[in-house]
């Protein structure tokens, strides 16, 4: 049954929505229009491009996995436990969202650097220094991306009916079993959305990475760093790199939406 007016978008919503699309999409169109299409092929096969892209994808994926392993339990604690000071904790762990990433990078130095609170101990006992390694890229990206996952999963947990967990308890499931077999599947769409968001944020991460992990091709130079540095010497190369990053992230997000998010949402 189709009521009159069904499917139509009211003008007060349509106009800003169209403006929003233009605002978000036109800069991307600008990149495409200004790309040096004639020698795009030769620029793309430059080994530096593949190197930076591979590093970006690997680091963003590892950062997302790390965020999942640590962030989902944190989200559970924020959403379900009755621990005092929870709202303060929530505010603290979401600080990286508002912190300028460069400041985040400096803060990471102060904790995990060779002279840092934890890092100095690590350096003195094992001789291992985290900064300027690929691991440091993953750490910097995780620091910036994990709050997105935590917020997204905590929201999903709050929206999920906690009485399912009561039902599981009355069936003899302890809290860990309940978490694994009931809570996780229930909030799977929220976890998926949070993971995609974190991955996207990690892929675009610049400030914390260049500060904490430095910039060296092959080990720590991710695509955003390569784009930034190319912009200073060879703006056309920067556009090419941006296009590559854009195409890969767009393809990944579309694929995930169809394969994973789409299904999770419909069940």
């Amino acid at each position: 049954m189709r009521r009159p007016g069904d499917g139509g978008v009211p003008a007060p919503l349509l106009v800003p929505a169209v403006l929003a699309v233009a605002f978000l999409v036109l800069p991307l169109v600008g990149l495409v229009v200004r790309a040096p299409w004639s020698d795009l092929g030769s620029r793309l096969v430059e080994p530096a491009v593949g190197q930076a892209l591979r590093l970006s994808l690997v680091a963003a994926t590892l950062a997302t996995l790390l965020s999942l392993v640590l962030g989902v339990p944190l989200a559970w604690v924020l959403a379900r436990s009755r621990m005092p000071g929870r709202s303060v904790l929530r505010a603290l762990v979401t600080v990286p969202l508002v912190l300028p990433p460069v400041v985040g990078g400096v803060a990471l130095f102060l904790v995990l650097g060779r002279q840092g609170i934890v890092g100095s101990w690590l350096y003195e006992t094992t001789g291992y220094a985290l900064p300027f390694t690929t691991a440091a890229v993953v750490v910097a990206e995780t620091f910036v991306a994990m709050p997105f996952l935590v917020i997204s999963v905590e929201g999903a947990l709050r929206a999920a009916d906690a009485r399912f967990e009561d039902a599981a308890a009355t069936l003899g499931a302890d809290r860990w079993t309940t978490f694994r077999r009931v809570t996780l599947p229930l909030v799977a769409p929220g976890i998926a959305a949070g993971a995609v968001l974190s991955w996207a944020r990690a892929l675009g991460e610049f400030g914390a990475t260049i500060t904490f992990a430095g910039n060296f091709p092959g080990t720590t130079q991710t695509m955003p760093l390569a784009v930034y540095l190319a912009l200073q010497s060879d703006p056309e190369a920067a556009i090419v790199l941006s296009l590559v990053l854009l195409a890969v992230s767009l393809a990944t997000l579309l694929l995930l939406r169809d394969r994973w998010l789409g299904r999770a949402v419909t069940t």
């Binding site: 009916d161 009485r163 399912f164 009561d166 039902a167 599981a168 308890a169 009355t170 069936l171 003899g172 499931a173 302890d174 809290r175 079993t177 309940t178 077999r181 009931v182 599947p185 229930l186 799977a188 069940t267």
Partner: protein
């Protein structure tokens, strides 16, 4: 061999303080309006909520709750049925029913076999692979009952198990629930705000109002001698078990009741007290339901007087205080009662 509980819980501004005992094989209904604290009582019995004071004891010596003792829900031998079934949406019906057995460590194959057996018993043998979203409300509630009973729990808790169902489904599921409760050997507690559920399913009723027990007894006792206006309004119904045939029901206690629709098989004839009219002489005309009865007691509540009537067809009647005065009745007096056939509701049992 009982479930014994005496508990006090503070919930917001409400203090819930109740005491109850349920024998094996007995069904206790906790009846009361929304917000009276019924579900709080059930959550305490389930171990989902820790009482501020009191104790919950099973079989006389298993302490579930006491000073310094709290057995968490997952270590209690119980089954619980929730209002909106709460079947796990990501699991099939069979997996839902097998969930408790698996959580308690039963191997997958045995758990699934036991689950399939119980799904058969509740009439869902063919639907085991369906997800809850693909089941109707009645089917889902049956699966939820199977999930609660499959582990053969010591205590069965039912939280408004029928109230989310539509009227027609409710009748059939209530009848099935009645059958399963009759077979159940443990102690069952049913929370409901619907007096029909309480009367049809429970052997004893606790009426809870504002966190306190205002009346306790068999459904018939509570209905006949309501102690508060609230109880009177809530539980005036008279349920008469009988066997339907055509447009009449032959009552188990003798006598017949004429009804408006054709019925067959075991049913309850349900008569609301306000639809019973009282006369000193046999009423003129030819109403089909007329019985000579005797007034046992009369309890005023509000603007009406509840009359408890004994005889071949025991009834409860509400008459206005004015009519009651005009009739000039005293306990023991003979009186004629009549009910229109169209005023008699019939529920399958």
């Amino acid at each position: 061999m009982t479930l014994d509980a005496r508990l006090t819980v503070q919930r917001g501004g409400l203090t819930v303080a109740v005491e109850l005992a349920v024998a094996d094989g007995e069904v206790l209904a906790v009846l009361g309006p929304n917000g009276a604290g019924k579900s709080t009582v059930l959550r305490v019995l389930a171990g989902l909520l820790r009482p501020d004071a009191g104790r919950v004891v099973v079989d006389g010596d298993q302490l579930w709750d006491a000073a310094g003792v709290h057995v968490p829900a997952h270590r209690r031998s119980l089954g619980m049925v929730f209002q909106d079934h709460l079947l796990f949406p990501h699991l099939s019906a069979t997996e839902n029913v097998a969930f408790g057995l698996r959580a308690r460590g039963m191997p997958r194959a045995r758990a699934r076999a036991a689950a399939a057996g119980w799904l058969d018993r509740v009439g869902l043998g063919d639907l085991g692979e369906r997800r809850p979203g693909q089941l109707s409300g009645g089917q889902a509630q049956r699966a939820a009952l199977a999930r609660a009973l499959v582990g053969d729990p010591r205590v069965l808790l039912l939280d408004e198990p029928l109230s989310s169902l539509d009227a027609r489904t409710r009748l059939t599921v209530r009848a099935e629930l009645h059958r399963h409760l009759a077979e159940y050997r443990g102690s069952a507690v049913l929370v409901t705000h619907d007096p029909v559920d309480a009367m049809a399913l429970a052997g004893r009723v606790l009426v809870v109002e504002d966190g306190r027990i205002v009346q306790a007894g068999t459904p018939a006792e509570v209905a006949r001698r309501p102690r508060t206006d609230y109880v009177a309004r809530l539980v005036g119904l008279v349920l008469l078990p009988g066997t339907g045939s055509g447009t009449s029901v032959a009552l188990e206690g003798g006598g017949t009741v004429a009804v408006a629709e054709e019925v067959t098989g075991p049913v309850f004839a349900v008569i609301r007290p306000e639809s019973v009219a009282l006369y000193l002489e046999r009423p003129a005309g030819s109403p089909r339901n007329v019985w000579p009865l005797r007034l046992v007691s009369a309890t005023p509540h509000g603007s009406v007087v509840r009359c408890d009537l004994a005889g071949e067809v025991p009834l409860t009647a509400d008459v206005t205080a004015t009519s009651f005065a005009e009739l000039g009745l005293a306990p023991g007096a003979a009186v004629w009662a009549s009910v229109k056939a169209s005023e008699v509701a019939v529920h399958t049992r």
